[in-house]
Amino acid sequence: MGQMVDAFNAEHPDIQVTMTSQGEYYTQLATAAAADTLPDVAIVHADQVATQAFRNILRPIDDLVAEMGLSGDDYPAPVWAAGEVAGHRYSIPLDIHPMTMFYNADLLSAAGFDAAPMTGEEFEAVAASVTSGDNKGFDITGGFPVQQIFQQMLHQFGGSEFNAEGTEATWNSEAGVQALQWMKDVQSKYSEPNLEVDAELNAFKTGTVGMVWNGIWQTTNVTGEGVEFNGQATAVPQIGPNMAVWAGSHQFTLPAHGTIDPCKDAAAAVFIKYMAENSVTWAQAGQIPASNSVRESAEFLAIEPQASIAPSVEFAIFPPSVPGITDAFGPLGEAVGAIMNGTATDIKATLDDAATRANEILEQNRSTYGDAPQAP
C-alpha cells in the first residue's frame, strides 16, 4: 500500500497523500470522528461499511462515484452491494480477500495426488490418504477463522446467515446443520481436535498437515519461502451443491467531516480511482483486486498464486449491509467454536440457541440505529 501511495504521489505533484495505519482500527476511527480528525480517505472492511455509516463516521458518495465514472458493472455483485447502505453508496471496493486452501504438495504427491482437490469427493480422498501416522489430512481450528469456514459451508449447502433484510438469523437451517456436521466429521476424521487460533497454521508449517483453510493473507506465511516444503495456495474446493467462498473486502470510503472541502473530495476521487485501477500492485502483496477488469488483465494473471485463486472471488459471500451486523455474528462464532471444541454436541440446538441470541442483538441494533444514517 505504501508503495502504491508513493507511486501516486510521484505521478500527482498537486495531490499529496500521507498514509497511516492503526491497530484497534474501528475504535480509532470512532475516537477520531468524535474529535473531527478523521482522514480524507479511509479503507474500511466491507462488513463494517454499514456500521460506520450509521455511526456518522462515513458519508455517502453517490455523486462522487458518478463523477468518477465507476459502476457496479466492473465488480462481482456481492462485493459492490456491500458498499450500499440504506439506498446510498458509501464505498468503492479495492480488493477481495477470500478463504484460501493451502496444501502441502509434497504430502499430496506422496499420497498419489498431483493436483489440489476441487470437489467434495476429491477433498475426502486426499484428506483420507494423507491422514496416517502423525500426518493429518486437513487441520481445522476451533478459533478464528472457523466461523468464517462455517459461513462458507453454509452457503455451499444452500443456506445463508441472515434473511435478505438482515433482520433475522437463519443459520439454524437444514443447510446450517449439514455444514457444521460436515465440519465436525472432517475434524474427527482428518484433524487434530481442539486446535486453538493459528494452531492449524503452525501445524501446517511443520509439514505434517495436508491441507488447511485460512485467509489469503496467510499466503506468504505458509507457502514459498515461509515453509521448508512445497507449500501451495489455491481456491477452496466446492464441497456442497453450490460454490461459495467466504471473503472479506477492503473498501475505500470518505469519512465525515464538520466542513466538507470540495477540493479535497476531488483529490480523493482522483486518488481512489488511481488506487482501484492500479490495484495490481496491491495484488502482488497477496490480495485479489475487486475490479473485474484488473483481475482480467494480463498483468494480474501473471501473479501466482493469486491468479489461480481469483476465479473463486466470483462466488464470494458478504453479509447484508445493515449496521452492527458483525455483532450478530458473535453468537454464531460461539456456537461453531463450541461444537468444534466439543463443549457442545447437539448441532441443531446450539445453532438454534445462537440464532435466538443473534436475533436479540439484531433487534437491539435496529432500535438503536434506526432506518437510515443521520449523516451530516
Partner: protein, 304 residues
Amino acid sequence: MSLATVKKRKFPLTPYLFILPHLIFFAVFVGYPFFSGLYISFFQYDYLRPEATTFIGLQNYLGLFKAGSVKFIEFWNSVRVTVTFVIWSVPFLVLIPLGLATLLNGKAPGLKFFRAVYFAPWVLSVAVISLIWWWIFQSQGGLLNYYLDLWGLETPRWLSTMPYAMVTIVIATVWWTMGYNMIIFLAALQDIPTELYEAAEMDGANAWQRFTRITLPMLQPVFVFIVIITIIASFNLLGQPLMMTRGAPAQPTGGGATEPVMLRIFNEGFVRPFQGSAAAMSVIVALIMMAFSFFNFRIFRRSE
C-alpha cells in the same frame, strides 16, 4: 462575636493549596470520568450519535438483570470468569511473593541478584508476557507440551480447553506480577526491628515460631494492603486472555470461558455502540470490587 471564633471560621487555605496539584489531576482523570460514567449509565448513549442519545433511567441496569437476555448471559458470564480468575490468582499472588520475600530478606551475597530476577518480569508489558507464555503453551511445538510429550505425559490443549485455558492465564499473571508484591513485602520485612527476633531467639523460639509469631503479625497492615491491591488488579484482567486465548474456548450458551468482564465492557461500549450499558456494567463491577474490599477489611480486622 469574639476574635477567636472569627479566626476559627476562617477557611484554612494553606493545606488545600498543598494538595491542589494532585487534586486537579485527580478531578480531571478520576473524579470527572467517575461521575461522567455514572451519568452515562442512565442514558442510551453513543458519543458519535447525539441524536440517538436518550435518558432511559435504570433501563441499562435492568437489562443486565433480565435473565436469559444476551446482555445478561454475556455480562454475568464474564463476571464469573473474572471472579474465578481473582479466586484462582490472588492466593498465589500473595503467598508466593511472601515466601520469596522471606527467603530473600537477608544480607547473604547474591540475594540482590535474585531480588532483581524475580522482579524483572514486572517491568515487561502485558503484550510481551502474553506472547512469551503463548509460545510456551501453544499446542503446535509449544515448549511445555514438547517436554510433556518427551516424558510421556499427557499434553492438554492449554489454550483452547477448560480448565487449562484459565490455568495458563493464572500462571502467566503470577509469573508476571509476583515481583511487585514481593518488593512490597521485602520493604515491610526490613522494617521489622531485628531486636524482636533476637529476643525471641533468646527465649528459644524456632524459625517457624519466629515467622508465625513475629513476622506475620508485623506484616498484617501490609498484608491487607497487598490483598486488596491484588484483588483490584486481578479484577482488571484484560490483556492476558485477550492475547493468549482470545476468550476461548467458546461456550454454547454464550460468551467465552476466559472472556473477562473488562473485555465485555470494552466490546459493549466501543465495538458495539452501547456506552450507556457499558457504563452500567462498570458501575456494577465497581460495586462488586468494593464489596470484595469491604469483606477483606472486615475479615482481617476481626483477626486482629
